[in-house]
């Protein structure tokens, strides 16, 4: 059997240089490993937030008002769930746009459909822009949230809530920023020479990362904002 297998491999000539054992591209395997690793990073950050929930000795607090005993000043509950629900919706929609962007790239060499909407669905530029813009809008919401918190008296130094909240959501925001830059790089390629079905893997990998960052936000929104 061994000899037969070897004879076969010889008759087909040199084994292809880019053959992979699983048939998956190297970068895709690496990105999955990277995402597994990132999960542990966010698990650590979220756990720390939850462990420190209710342990701050001074306000402001996330879900209840706090009166400063020294000055008598009242600090309102910090988290603004309606506004954050809107930004969460924006980020979720960006994942939808990402899916459409990938589909548009994969279908590049198919004949162009006639309907107006169907033709829009085939524009990789449109959906990459849409994803990047929705991501940037989410970052805008976060910038608004951070500055309004600081105005209301909560900084990263104020208390344990401030330290763990800003660190956790700041790390998430940094991940979204990297994602937006990644999308802009893909757009750069698209404008320079046009993304082709052969580039689908590049878009696929960016999409994996983007969806992961989105899923992390769903965990953060649920655990930090919704659960009191």
């Amino acid at each position: 059997m061994a000899t037969a297998a070897i004879a076969e491999s010889h008759s087909h000539g040199e084994v292809s240089h880019h053959r992979t054992s699983t048939g998956l591209n190297h970068r895709k395997v690496a990105v999955w490993a990277f995402i597994g690793s990132e999960c542990m990073l966010f698990v650590s950050l979220i756990s720390t937030y939850l462990i420190y929930k209710g342990r701050s000795v001074v306000g402001p607090y996330p879900h209840e008002n706090w009166t400063d005993p020294a000055t008598g000043k009242v600090f309102k509950e910090i988290l603004n769930i309606p506004v954050t629900s809107a930004s969460t919706f924006v980020l979720l929609m960006s994942s939808l746009a990402m899916v459409l962007a990938l589909a548009a790239v994969q279908n590049k060499d198919k004949p162009m459909p006639t309907g107006w909407w169907d033709r829009q669905l085939r524009s990789s530029k449109l959906w990459l822009w849409m994803t990047a813009l929705l991501g940037t809008t989410f970052l805008g919401f976060q910038a608004y949230e951070f500055t309004s918190f600081v105005h209301e008296g909560l900084t990263i130094r104020t208390n344990l809530f401030g330290s763990s909240f800003f660190t956790l959501t700041g790390f998430h925001g940094a991940h979204v920023t990297v994602g937006v830059l990644w999308l802009l790089a893909l757009l750069g390629i698209d404008y320079k020479r046009g993304l082709k079905p052969a580039d689908a893997l590049n878009v696929d990998i960016a999409a994996l990362y983007w969806h992961f960052v989105d899923v992390v936000w769903i965990a953060i929104f649920t655990l930090i904002y919704l659960i009191k």
């Binding site: 059997m1 061994a2 000899t3 297998a5 070897i6 491999s9 040199e14 084994v15 240089h17 992979t20 054992s21 699983t22 998956l24 190297h26 395997v29 690496a30 490993a33 990277f34 597994g36 690793s37 990132e38 542990m40 990073l41 650590s44 950050l45 720390t48 462990i51 420190y52 342990r55 701050s56 000795v57 001074v58 990263i156 130094r157 208390n159 344990l160 401030g162 330290s163 763990s164 660190t167 790390f171």
Partner: protein, 623 residues
């Protein structure tokens, strides 16, 4: 199993293309050369960390010695631990990951050769950030586990801990990048027929270790980020007055730290599992069980962290749970010991230096394992914790386990690495002096610990029954130092003048021994087809590699170009990226110095430099 050691040729096989000179090393993306870089760097740090240990033992040789001050002593034990864990044993394992994994699975390189070079340069940069400050008396001094709040600015206001936090963060990047690379390499680059359950055990154990790295390092990354933010930006993660939990760091650190222990030991287990079958001329006893027990050790490693914290008062339920999970780990570990012994049972044992180190690992690790089981019982651990008994335990597993295993690997693979044999006579001298020295140093620590000597004290009074044991420990260091000196003489001499090895000097069964030593840059002239776990014992050599007529021309090996194999271009970009990244993080030190504009200036400049380097990297072709 009839294959005998192949006859050695008169000269080293070469393609005639091998480049030397410093530039070729700075720009290399060849996994074998990167392995050599890891090996040489780690051996340098081994001497460095060993000198620190020697000073510690000189200080403790007798009561009330005044060789170093208490502050210097804190720096010495912190740096000894940090160096040996992060800069010696991990990179020695990395040297073997780099050199061996592609050869053992029949690949021409790792999945991402440039990322691999980046990992090495980042590791070197992190190592320099951590170790250099000791020359200015500013070395980290909070222990290798850096317990916060002790390491927060309130209690450690100097720069010492800053170097430690930044250095470890940088070293973490190196380990993570390497782990993504090796996971992809092992999953994706196996030769046809090299199914998972035919992989050599070293590759298997490395595979498990890479998963431990990617899952454990992010946890210490988070813990270090908190500490870094506390120190540089005034956050409250470890400020107890603000309500912080003083145990947060301990939990996060040991969630990382216990898997880290297996990151240190499993590669050595893998090496020994290669050495024992070859020199017993028997297949490894219970290969699947060895593999599964390695996976189980890795998985259970995430569920035992709090056994490092029995004395902090977690309560009886947590103590009991972590006692039981810790005892459970003894099962897969004991299974491995049994398998190794059974491999030798009835074999035709050849007592080469490599084999002797491997057998010594089985014995010495068992000693350390047994004291480990003693610690798993919380009531017993309360007596032993923070005493020299614990120091004895972890030196038996790390020196008696990891270092002896790695030495077995060095003697075994030196011929593949250099094409030449290490001298066996010097090797035997190295073995006996080092193993006697190890036992003489660490066995008496069980006794000084049981007599109540605490860890991390810089001196002690006479009359407590500790003098003799401490003196014995210090004398043992002399033997270890002699042993390592013999090793270095042997290593340097044999690299240039050792006997020429040939492809397979040991008559070993795995794929890496089918190709020339030293290995040509393309590794395999054609990718072999594997049909068994021990291809060189079970398959004909001619089935595995092309005949000499096809791979040589005019008395030399064919070059990659002559064989039509595309090779990755050498590039300086990974080194440049590593330098920019390290400099960017070190810009933070100027925040501590109170110079925010300078800190921002450095970080932004280096950040832009890093971004441009990465763009250049991503847009330049690999091969």
């Amino acid at each position: 199993m009839t294959t005998m050691a192949a006859p050695a040729p008169a000269t080293l096989p070469t393609t005639g293309e091998y480049k030397t000179g410093i530039w070729s090393w700075l720009t290399t993306v060849d996994h074998k050369r990167i392995g050599i870089l890891y090996l040489v760097t780690a051996l340098f740090f081994f001497v460095w960390g060993g000198l620190e240990a020697a000073i510690i033992r000189a200080q403790l040789a007798g009561p009330n010695m005044g060789l170093v001050t208490a502050q210097q002593y804190n720096q010495l034990f912190t740096m000894h631990g940090t160096t040996m864990v992060f800069l010696v044993i991990m990179p020695l394992s990395s040297a073997f990951f780099n050199f061996l994994i592609p050869l053992q699975i029949g690949a021409r390189d790792v999945a991402f050769p440039r990322l691999n070079a980046f990992s090495y340069w980042v590791f070197l940069a992190g190592g320099i950030v951590v170790t250099l400050p000791i020359l200015f008396g500013m070395a980290p001094d909070g222990g290798w586990f850096g317990y916060a709040p002790l390491t927060t600015k309130a209690y450690s206001s100097g720069y010492n801990i800053d170097y430690w936090v930044l250095g470890l963060q940088i070293l973490g990047v190196a380990s993570l990048a390497a782990a993504f690379n090796f996971i992809t390499t092992i999953i994706n680059m196996r030769a046809p027929g090299m199914v998972l359950m035919r992989m050599p055990v070293f590759t298997w154990m490395s595979f498990v270790v890479q998963f431990l790295v990617i899952l454990a390092f992010p946890v210490i990354t988070a813990a270090l980020v908190f500490l870094l933010f506390d120190r540089f930006f005034g956050t409250n993660f470890y400020t107890v007055a603000a309500g912080a939990d003083p145990l947060l760091w301990q939990h996060l650190f040991w969630v990382f730290g216990h898997p880290e222990v297996y990151i240190l030991i499993l590669p050595a287990f893998g090496l020994v599992s290669e050495v024992l079958p070859t020199f017993s001329r028997k297949p490894l006893f219970g290969y699947p069980v060895i593999v599964y027990s390695g996976i189980l050790i890795g998985a259970l490693g995430f569920g035992v962290w709090a056994h490092h914290m029995f004395s902090v008062g977690m309560g009886p339920i947590a103590d009991s749970v972590f006692s039981v999970t810790t005892m459970l780990i003894a099962i897969p570990t004991g299974v491995k010991i049994l398998n190794w012994v059974s491999t030798m049972w009835g074999g035709q044992i050849r007592f080469t230096t490599s084999m002797m180190f491997a057998i010594a690992l089985v014995a010495m690790f068992t000693v350390g394992g047994i004291s480990g089981i003693m610690h798993s019982s919380a009531p017993a651990d309360l007596q032993q914790t923070d005493s020299y008994f614990v120091v004895a335990h972890f030196h038996y597993v790390l020196v008696g386990g990891a270092v002896l295993g790695i030495m077995a690997g060095v003697y075994y693979y030196f011929p593949k690495l250099t094409g030449r044999m290490l001298d066996e006579t010097l090797g035997k001298w190295h073995f006996w002096t080092f193993v006697i020295g190890t036992n003489l140093t660490f066995f008496p620590m069980h006794m000084s610990g049981l007599y109540g000597m605490p860890r991390r004290i810089y001196t002690y009074d006479a009359g407590q029954g500790w003098e003799m044991y401490n003196l014995l420990s210090s004398i043992g260091v002399i033997f270890q130092a002699i042993g390592m000196t013999i090793f270095f003489v042997n290593f340097i001499r044999s690299w240039k003048k050792g006997a020429i090895a040939g492809n397979n000097p040991w008559g070993a069964p795995t794929l890496e021994w089918a190709i020339p030593s030293p290995v040509p840059d393309y590794n395999f002239a054609h990718i072999p087809v594997v049909t068994s776990r021990y291809p060189l014992w079970d398959q004909k050599a001619g089935d595995l590699v092309k005949s000499e007529a096809e791979t040589t021309t005019g008395g030399r090996l064919k070059t990659a170009a002559e064989l039509g194999i595309p090779m990755p271009f050498p590039t300086i970009l990974p080194l440049v990226a590593a330098v920019f990244m390290t400099a960017m993080l070190c810009g933070l030190l100027f925040i501590h110095a109170g110079n925010l504009p300078l800190a921002l200036g450095i970080m932004i400049t280096c950040g832009l430099g890093l971004a441009f380097t990465l763009i250049k990297w991503l847009t330049s072709p690999l091969e």
